[in-house]
Assembly symmetry: C2
């Protein structure tokens, strides 16, 4: 560990010499300039594109011939134009995935676009389009490389990475973010991250750098805490240091997400960047099958969930093997941007106040479980990993409200059963809840404010044309195909306070 | 028939004497002043309330004791306030249904509110509230009366009706519309309609009068044509004369609905008033069970369907046995009004142009049927009574488009299977289509513009954030629980012509 300490001291000296730049992570309880820029960007389009796009796979082992890469309508300008039209603030491109295939002509490998039938430098095309459309440019680079011959020699491979990153950081203008992945394949120290970090900051001083699975439960042990549980300051540790923000793809942070993380006895401020797929399933590289996108209600709710509380969001919108983003996916993110008014101001839109968080909740039954995982309190705990489940198909769940808080919007995230479709990519999502109603209790009576016999599904947003106030809110499930289960049930403060 | 002719001549003479008033239906090919006022109103709230509300039935036979009528929170002001908030232009109240129970204290019967525990004159309360909130007031009155002792003596019962209508038309200010029902229980002549018509016009000269099932296939025969088939001028006949508009509850007019109808060799102009339930099922008097409302997409599409083409729409929003309209139903119509912008101008909003109507359509298969009822052409024939059905669960249907017409909105009305719920009132609506996509063909390639794995259901509206143009449009059903079947598939001209 001596090496680490030396680097830390060196970085500290650097930062003291250039205090105005503040580009290097230092113990702090507030965002530094790099982090402020990251939070201000806030909402990016993730673009997975590469050799896997042409093989209908998520990951490959570096042996797919470069000749397979052959988009017949390659058009990175279209990708970034869609990002601009959708109101994204930056684009995050997979310049190299675990397979080692590079989207630019790298001097240090033959496994790249230059060795393929379509030699366009995609990194340049995307970074140029970002300049053209006024978006920031960010890159994803996999540490894990299943193709590169030097990979097993840690030092030699670190040099390979440093050479490639030098190409990337000197050839394509300012890079806002470096997203490193696949760290699990070697010990943290074997990646020589401090050298990577230093190189990056030399060329793009405010580039935000991180490695997937940034945080662990104990220093020097690979024992992870998911973001849904990171609700205590100074309890968890850097696995990869230095890093400017946290990553834990594709998990969602807790609404009580904390920002202070430890390294060698010091506490650092670290926001979290969410990574989600536009697609309803875990689908990073686009497939030959057209997989449905999440619907607008869910995307809107996830946008607010992920961009609130000093965290950020990237949504993956991958081009297909034609080299174009498919229209139905472009339509989904552009419609989301329109709904959110993302192009109306520089600042991202804010949700109204969530008045349901941690309010006392009770249910007609809880699904029996030795560790008591399915209790009603899971329904508004701000944690998308936990859920309430009933023991019966007919069920009621209630939460106490503050009757001085008017509300006009409710969202429900249902747990769905999932079956794999015979096509190998599609899934059948089977909502359990088929009919339900919502009622509010006020002045000693229950008033039904919503009745539906359409399934809830992944996420349903119910908007009221007036505001309500009440002491309690009840969700009655009147018909279900299996015991209903709900991740989160959100109630939002009214935009306008008028009442009928 | 001599009597009819005498009355006709008399009416003609009246109208010649008062040509400026033009309140009496005359042969014409354009709307008269009464009809113009009807079309200008255009959108009304139907209110079914009465003895049936307290017995959980649609119809009763006149033997339910008046004592059963006992709303404990009767509040007609709330009904009309909701109508106002929802942007309705008039309220149509059932002052007497087939059971004969009257919502006002009628001198001519004891079967009315005055004989019940809650003596409020509901007709007065509603007409007063209409004045207060600036809405027009209209009444539904059943010809068929299962309580009134004089009913079997046609002349005596006609006098009973004339007396009651005199009470109604002299006691409650101007009445915009008289909706007569239950005509099937006697021969048309036995209702003495010309006398009713004359009486009405005497007190409210521009009151529009009609009888349910206004039109028949042949003069003097009870052989009905549903509005979906009324696509030829001067082919069908008045069953009930005189009448100012057509009724055929609860059917929908054809988009090629015609307006010229015959009576004794003369052709009359007659718009059609649609009557639909807010509820998803045929549910006129409110039940103890809370039945779901149609969703906003369907209501919006039905609004445009029913108010276009010189026709009008009333939506039934019935108060419950408390005497109040339930909140979830008020929310549905108010949200609809907000979405349509009904309170922004006096004129009703217009739909963009439907570019799919009667375009050539083909399908991968048609459900086998001797009379060829389920062909692809049913899918855009402007007739909500006809439908295409596939022979297989996997199916495709295509329509030819004019590629110079940009579109940005598509709606699909699916035929659903329906099962009755054990509660006796609710229904299970079972969509067949579970996953589908839309693609447009242009410049020799198919482009997928929408993909969904959520059921279509009664009506799904798909809005695109850009406009498309193409030579053909394809709906691919990729998963269904039964052979898919679609009533109508509408494609609408783009609001803005910008393209990506």
């Amino acid at each position: 560990m001596m090496y680490w300490k030396k680097i830390s001291v060196m970085l500290l000296v650097c930062s003291l010499l250039h205090p105005a730049k503040a580009q290097v992570i230092k113990p702090a309880t507030r965002p530094n300039a790099t982090q402020q820029a990251l939070l201000q960007r806030g909402y990016g389009m993730f673009i997975h594109f590469g050799i896997n796009t042409f093989a209908d796979v998520e990951w490959s082992d570096g042996t797919i011939p470069a000749a397979r890469y052959q988009p017949d309508q390659l058009n990175p300008d279209q990708w970034v134009r869609i990002a601009r039209d959708a109101g994204f603030r930056y684009v995050l491109l997979t310049v190299k995935h675990h397979d080692g295939f590079c989207l630019w002509d790298s001097r240090y490998t033959d496994y790249d676009v230059a060795a393929s039938p379509v030699k366009t430098d995609v990194v340049k095309a995307v970074s140029d389009a970002c300049k053209k459309y006024g978006l920031q440019f960010a890159i994803y680079y996999s540490l894990w490389d299943r193709h590169e011959a030097s990979y097993k020699d840690h030092r030699a491979y670190a040099d390979y990475m440093l050479h490639q990153l030098t190409e990337l950081f000197t050839g394509y203008g300012t890079i806002a973010e470096l997203w490193l992945d696949g760290g699990w394949d070697k010990k943290p120290a074997d990646w020589y991250l401090p050298e990577i970090y230093q190189l990056v900051k030399k060329y793009s001083p405010h580039c935000a750098v991180s490695v997937n699975h940034t945080i662990v439960n104990e220093e020097d042990k690979r024992n992870y805490t998911v973001p849904g549980d990171m609700t205590t300051d100074n309890q968890y540790f850097f696995q990869y240091f230095p890093a400017d923000f946290r990553l834990w793809d594709p998990r969602l942070a807790n609404l009580a997400d904390k920002k202070q993380y430890l390294h060698e006895g010091q506490s650092y401020y670290l926001p979290f960047e969410h990574t989600i797929c536009l697609s309803k399933r875990w689908n990073w590289f686009e497939k030959s099958v057209e997989i449905p996108t999440r619907d607008l209600d869910e995307l809107e709710e996830l946008f607010y969930w992920c961009t609130s509380n000093q965290n950020t969001l990237v949504i993956n919108v991958p081009p297909s093997s034609t080299g174009l983003i498919r229209d139905y996916q472009a339509n989904a993110v552009i419609a989301l941007g329109k709904r959110l008014g993302l192009k109306k101001s520089r600042a991202l839109p804010q949700n109204t106040k969530r008045i349901s968080l941690l309010q006392p909740a009770t249910a007609s039954s809880n699904y029996p479980d030795a560790s008591n995982r399915y209790t009603a309190s899971a329904i508004n705990d701000g944690n998308m990993e936990t859920r309430w489940a009933s023991a019966d198909t007919v069920a009621q769940v209630e939460m106490v409200l503050n009757d001085r808080e008017p509300f006009d919007r409710i969202s429900i995230f249902e747990y769905q059963d999932v079956k794999n479709d015979p096509d190998g990519f599609s899934q059948w999502r089977i909502p359990r809840i088929q009919a339900y109603s919502l009622a509010v209790y006020n002045n000693k009576e229950w008033k039904t404010i919503y009745v539906s016999d359409e399934p809830i599904g992944d996420c349903r947003v119910i908007r009221f044309p007036r505001s309500y106030q009440g002491e309690r809110l009840r969700l009655s499930v009147t018909r279900a195909s299996a015991p209903p289960s709900i991740y989160e049930w959100n109630v939002y403060h009214a935009k306008e306070q008028q009442q009928r």
